[in-house]
């Protein structure tokens, strides 16, 4: 089935777009790895993840660490099925726009 381009304002904010782009090809990423890869602060990433989580696009899971000696748990972040669909549709919309055929959104 062909992907329907759809511009998504929630995803389109620059950091959120990059978060979704990093999560799309993988199953899940540790919060710290995502933060370092994007070069953003803990607070900024948390804020954007909260927005994406509330939209149903991202889910987080806390798990015990295999490397930490203390009891703190790592947060793993993943795109949900809805998040994958929305991101793919948004990227398709960006491709349409970049090709000069602006889509209605």
């Amino acid at each position: 089935m062909a992907l329907e381009p759809r511009f998504d304002e929630t995803i389109h904010a620059p950091t959120r777009l990059r978060v979704c782009g990093m999560l799309r090809p993988v199953d899940e990423i540790d919060f710290a790895v995502l933060r370092d890869s994007l070069g953003v602060s803990d607070a900024s990433l948390s804020k954007h993840l909260k927005v994406l989580t509330e939209a149903g696009y991202v889910a987080t899971t806390k798990r015990a660490s295999t490397t930490r000696s203390d009891s703190r748990r790592l947060t793993w972040v993943r795109l949900t099925a809805a998040g994958r669909r929305a991101f793919d549709a948004h990227v398709a919309a960006l491709r349409d726009i970049s090709a000069g055929a602006a889509t209605a959104g």
């Binding site: 990423i29 790895v33 890869s37 960006l94 970049s98 602006a102």
Partner: protein
């Protein structure tokens, strides 16, 4: 909003810049996923142990070595994504084929090892074990390159 894409003359250029930035992020992620130098030699040592195990006298020692080699391999497969901070299961057809080849070659070399023992040529079993080590390192690294290329292109 700095990346406002409402229809205007500059919108196609800004959309293209965003797509380029996503591609650059995927490239950085793929680079980050490169396995440390020790990983595939470690897998190679474990498969070599598994292939060489039939050379031991049948019984507890052989069973113990086989069990330890398989358990350590599974532990490494389980632990490595947790250490790296990224878990990827969609590795792409090319990487899956490479992994299939590696599994097939390991079973073939194990059969060779068992055949040598059955023929009374126990002291030749290091040969398939060394071949197993070399194949695991080479095909493991090929798997690593291919699945990272899959990530770089976007799954």
């Amino acid at each position: 909003m700095e990346n406002d894409l409402r229809p205007s003359d500059g919108a196609p250029r800004r959309a293209a810049a965003l797509l380029d930035e996503l591609a650059a992020d995927r490239t950085r992620l793929a680079q980050r996923l490169a396995a440390p130098a020790w990983l595939y030699p470690a897998f190679g040592a474990l498969t070599a142990l598994y292939v060489a195990a039939p050379a031991l006298e049948p019984g507890a020692a052989s069973d113990l070595v086989t069990t330890l080699a398989v358990a350590a391999t599974l532990l490494l497969v389980w632990a490595y994504p947790r250490l790296s901070g990224v878990r990827v299961s969609r590795t792409g057809a090319s990487a899956r084929l490479t992994l299939g080849l590696l599994l097939g070659a390991t079973l073939l070399l194990l059969s060779t090892s068992l055949g040598l023992v059955a023929l009374g040529l126990r002291w030749w079993t290091p040969l398939p074990a060394v071949a197993s080590f070399a194949l695991t390192v080479q095909l493991g690294r090929a798997f690593d390159r291919r699945y990272r290329e899959h990530v770089r292109r976007g799954a």
